[in-house]
Assembly symmetry: C2
Homo-oligomer: 270 residues x 2
C-alpha cells in the first residue's frame, strides 16, 4: 500500500449514486482535495440486503480504495454506515467517517422540541443506528422511524417531483406527521433529491436534515486533526469507479452533480 | 457432475422472488417433478444492471444448479432470458428454457389485431428480445414497449393495489394505450402480482399475458421430448436457495406462494 500523504485522495463510497450528494459537498468545501468515488452498482441497492452481505460488499470496496492509496474513507451510504463500520474498520487502516453520527448531531442541533423523525432504507431503519446515536447525544429525545424503500428507485428513475412521488411520500409521512416530529433526518443519501416534495408534505415547520454538509465538515475536522489536509490553493483530482455499468453511472452522475462526468472506470469483485 | 436421470430435479432461477410465479405453475402442473429454486438476492435487481453483469451472475447460478444435478434449467427471469441465454448455454450442458419465446407465442396466440404491448425492466426492454421473438413468429405484428422500473420495488414492497401502484401504472400505460395495443405481455416475472391493477388500467379489451403458464408447458414438452419426465404419481422434492438473506426470502416467498416456506438455504458467490 502506498504511503499516505497530505496529497493522498479521500475515498468516498456508496452502494450507488446517492453518495454523490456527499461527494459534491466535499468537492465544494475542499476543492484542493483529491477525491475517489466508488459506486457499488453491481450490488445496489444495499437497503434490502442482509447485514452480512452489506458488511462483505462494503469491506471489499474499502479494501479496493485503500489499495488506491486513500488517506481517509467516507462511507457515504447510510445503510453501510449503519451496519458495516466495524467490518470496514477491520478491513482497512485509514480513518473512516460514516454519515450517521454527523446526521444525528445536525438534527439535534436544530431540533427545538427534540422530536426527531428518521427516514431511510429498510436495513438502516432496522439497525436503529440513528436512534442509538441520537439517544447517546440527548437521552430525552423522542424518535420515530419509517422505512421508505420506494424512494431510492424513484430517485434512480428520475421521478423527483410529480404525483407519484407525492403520493408515496404522503404514505410514508403519515406516522411521522402523527408523531408531530419537528425535525426529519433524510437517512439515505438519495433522499436530498426529494427535499422539495418532502418539505411540502411535512410542512414548513419541520426541519429537514441531510447529512452531506455535516459529514463533509466532520471529514475536514478529522483531516485537520491528523495534519492531513491538502495544501490550499491546489486543485484536487477527481476519479470515479463503479462495479457495473460505468456509462450509465456517468450519465446519471452528471445529472445529479449538474456537471458532465467524463470517465467512470469499471472494477468488479466477483 | 451427477448423472442426469428422470428423477433429477428441474432448476428454476430468477434474480429474486419473481420466478416463483413460474415455480408455482411448474409445481401445480408437474407435482411429481423435483424442483430446485435459486433466487440471486445478493444481486437483485438485474433489470438496471449491465448485460455483462447479467450474463456473469446468471452463469454462476446456472453452474451452481448444474452442480446440484438438475436435468433442465428454467431461466424464470425475463432480464436474464433476454441477455444471458448464450452465456448460460455455454456454462452448462443441460437444456435451458427461457421465458421470452413462450411469452411471445402466448401473446400471438390470443392477439386479434397483432398489436402487442410489452412491459418489462429497463434491461429487458432495451434488449428488444420480445420484439425480435414476435417478429420472428409474425412479421406484420406491431409492438410497443415500455420499461417499468418501479413495478419490481412496488411488488417487493407488497403494494400490489392502491393509489400508488395505480398512479404509477397509469403513467407507464400511457404510450401503450395511445398505441391501442390489444395484448400486453407482462415481461417480468414480478408483474403477475399487479394483474388486477393492470387489467383495470388497460381496460377489459386488452389481454394480459404472463409467461409462467406457457413456460411451464414448454418445460414439460422439452422433458417429454428428451424422455426425462419423472414417473407419474410420485411427489417431487422442493428445495430453495438464495444468495442473500434467506429468512427474508422465505417469508416473502411464503406470501407469494400462499404456503409456508420452511427452509431456504444460503449460497453466495463472492
Amino acid at each position: 500500500m502506498a504511503r499516505v500523504t497530505k496529497r493522498s485522495p479521500i475515498g468516498v463510497f456508496d452502494s450507488g449514486l446517492g453518495g454523490l450528494t456527499v461527494f459534491k459537498v466535499l468537492a465544494r468545501r475542499m476543492p484542493e482535495e483529491s477525491l475517489i468515488y466508488f459506486g457499488d452498482t453491481a450490488h445496489v441497492p444495499y437497503g434490502s440486503k442482509s447485514p452480512e452481505a452489506i458488511a462483505r460488499f462494503s469491506s471489499e470496496v474499502a479494501k479496493f480504495l485503500a489499495g488506491r492509496g486513500i488517506k481517509l474513507l467516507v462511507v457515504a451510504c447510510n445503510t453501510s454506515s449503519a451496519w458495516a463500520l466495524p467490518a470496514i474498520r477491520k478491513a482497512v487502516k485509514v480513518p473512516v467517517v460514516g454519515v450517521i453520527d454527523p446526521g444525528a448531531r445536525a438534527a439535534l442541533g436544530v431540533s427545538r422540541g427534540g422530536r426527531i423523525g428518521i427516514i431511510g432504507t429498510e436495513a438502516t431503519v432496522k439497525s436503529e443506528a440513528y436512534v442509538k446515536a441520537i439517544k447517546n447525544l440527548r437521552k430525552g429525545a423522542k424518535t420515530v422511524s419509517a422505512a421508505c424503500p420506494l424512494f431510492v428507485p424513484l430517485v434512480e428513475e428520475g421521478w423527483w417531483s410529480g404525483d407519484v412521488v407525492e403520493t408515496v411520500a404522503r404514505k410514508y409521512a403519515g406516522p411521522l406527521k402523527s408523531a408531530r416530529v419537528d425535525t426529519l433526518i433524510l437517512g439515505c443519501t438519495h433522499y436530498p433529491f426529494l427535499k422539495p416534495v418532502l418539505a411540502r408534505v411535512m410542512g414548513s415547520k419541520v426541519r429537514l436534515i441531510d447529512s452531506a454538509e455535516e459529514t463533509a465538515r466532520e471529514t475536514e475536522n478529522v483531516l485537520c486533526g491528523l495534519g492531513l489536509r491538502a495544501p490550499r490553493g491546489g486543485k484536487g483530482r477527481r476519479e470515479m469507479w463503479a462495479s457495473d455499468a460505468p456509462e450509465r453511472f456517468a450519465r446519471l452522475a452528471g445529472r445529479m452533480l449538474g456537471a458532465k462526468v467524463k470517465k467512470v472506470r469499471l472494477h468488479h469483485f466477483d
